[in-house]
């Protein structure tokens, strides 16, 4: 029963999400693409880009605050929710998966779940229903077992693949091991028999290059 239920109507949902994200994008050209918030999240995910995060923050934080005030009826808890939700956006940007929904949906569900758990905690209940029990499917990607796979797929196929391929081979090798095979810098250093410092500087160089490439496609 359960396995038959997974992806029904997925394409409709994607089409709708695309419409929504396009509507939210300040379009300066006519090329179909993901919106500015999806790009910003990708940059935050990729190397904790503070400028991209600040853009996200200045747009979403006041809107989450308004949502929080509506739901909690007071400013203090609303701001607590904003901080907690936006902190999650910062820390878990890597979990965002543009193939499963647009950035605003992801951020909304994080805030909704934070709010729900704040209310439950306030009433000091253990062994109780939590946001993780209630919302799973496509809403809160934390539990998605293949989330990193699909994230990489999205990243590779849709956005970065051409730029990734254009990296100098030495940088590409290091990036592949760190980001796709999820190896530690030390492991890569051992495997390739190059100094740890070289691993780190190659990653920095590659990230700069990718960032530049992404920036170019954005402006």
């Amino acid at each position: 029963m359960l396995e038959t239920t997974v992806l029904t109507g997925h394409h409709d949902a994607l089409a709708k999400q695309k419409r929504i994200s396009q509507r939210m994008t300040i379009n300066t050209d006519n090329e179909p693409r993901t919106g500015q918030w999806e790009d910003a999240l990708t940059l935050v995910a990729l190397h904790q880009d503070k400028a991209a995060y600040a853009e996200l923050f200045s747009y979403f934080a006041p809107r989450l605050r308004a949502f929080g005030i509506k739901m909690f009826g007071n400013e203090q808890q609303a701001m607590e929710m904003v901080q907690d939700a936006m902190l999650n956006v910062w820390r878990k940007a890597r979990l965002f998966d543009a193939t499963r929904g647009c950035a605003s949906t992801w951020i909304f569900t994080i805030a909704r779940n934070v709010r729900f758990d704040m209310l439950r905690k306030k009433q000091s209940r253990k062994d109780d229903i939590s946001a993780d029990d209630l919302w799973f499917d496509g809403d809160y990607p934390e539990q998605e077992s293949n989330s990193s796979d699909s994230w990489d797929t999205m990243l590779m196929s849709e956005k970065l693949a051409p730029h990734f391929d254009a990296l100098p081979p030495a940088q590409r090798m290091v990036m592949q091991k760190v980001y796709l095979e999820e190896k530690s810098h030390q492991e890569v250093s051992d495997e390739l028999a190059i100094p740890l410092g070289t691993v780190k500087s190659r990653i920095r160089l590659a990230l700069d290059r990718l960032r530049e490439a992404l920036d170019d496609t954005r402006s």
Partner: protein, 229 residues
């Protein structure tokens, strides 16, 4: 086995579920229904997108509390991101959970998996058994098992009753309910649910008030209503 789910939560219920404004126990029944129902999975995705778009598109008044925002932003970006290789990222995929009662083992939806691990022990009465799930709301949430060929005596709901069929089938005066079907009985609704002769049934039951039994000797059950509640 494919059973087309016929009885769904209404749109208003789904709306409130997505928003997070339903009481937790009612939301749990809705969530478990969604696990079993592709139609409502799609609907709740669409509703989520829609509510998120409303949130994202709302107008907010200009540049107030600029300093407070700046402090919050600085605090957040000073925090470490969860590392790529860190295990925090991927919680283990939810195990397929099951419950065993009357010598039978049933798979249960993801939404109930964690709570069912902490279920109270099964209480048996005739062909019927219940086990409470530990939640702290006014509503009472339990698993309800009905052996084949068993009738739950005719009763009236003093409050809201939600019953989600998790396995097997039940039948009452209004129809037949299979896996994924969500029955919602309002206060004062009366019915006599029963199982078929050859199939037992496992349900999730959410009750906001005790049942009241109506007929003949079953009225003697009323002191026992705590059993169902």
């Amino acid at each position: 086995m494919t059973h087309a789910v016929k009885f769904h939560p209404g749109l208003m219920l789904l709306d409130q579920y997505v928003e997070g404004s339903l009481s937790a126990d009612v939301a749990l029944a809705v969530s478990a229904h969604i696990d079993l129902c592709p139609h409502c999975q799609q609907l709740s995705k669409d509703i989520t997108n829609d509510q998120a778009a409303v949130l994202a598109e709302q107008e907010v008044s200009g540049r107030d509390a600029e300093q407070e925002w700046q402090q919050m932003l600085n605090f957040i970006t000073s925090q470490p991101a969860i590392s790529a290789a860190g295990s925090v990222l991927t919680k283990p995929a939810p195990q397929v959970a099951s419950v065993t009662v009357n010598g039978r083992t049933f798979e249960i939806p993801r939404a109930l998996a964690r709570l069912a691990e902490k279920q109270n022990k099964w209480l048996h009465l005739g062909g019927i058994a219940t086990a409470k799930l530990p939640t702290a709301d006014k509503q009472h949430v339990s698993l309800l098992y009905i052996d084949k060929g068993t009738e739950v005596p005719n009763h009236t709901h003093l409050g809201l009753e939600m019953t989600l069929v998790l396995a097997g089938k039940i039948v009452d005066e209004n129809g037949e309910y299979g896996v994924g079907d969500l029955l919602i009985n309002s206060p004062d609704d009366t019915h006599t649910p029963r199982t078929l002769a050859d199939e037992d049934c496992l349900c999730l039951s959410v009750l906001s008030a005790p049942l009241k039994f109506n007929k003949g000797l079953t009225r003697l059950l009323n002191p026992l209503q705590q059993f169902f509640y």
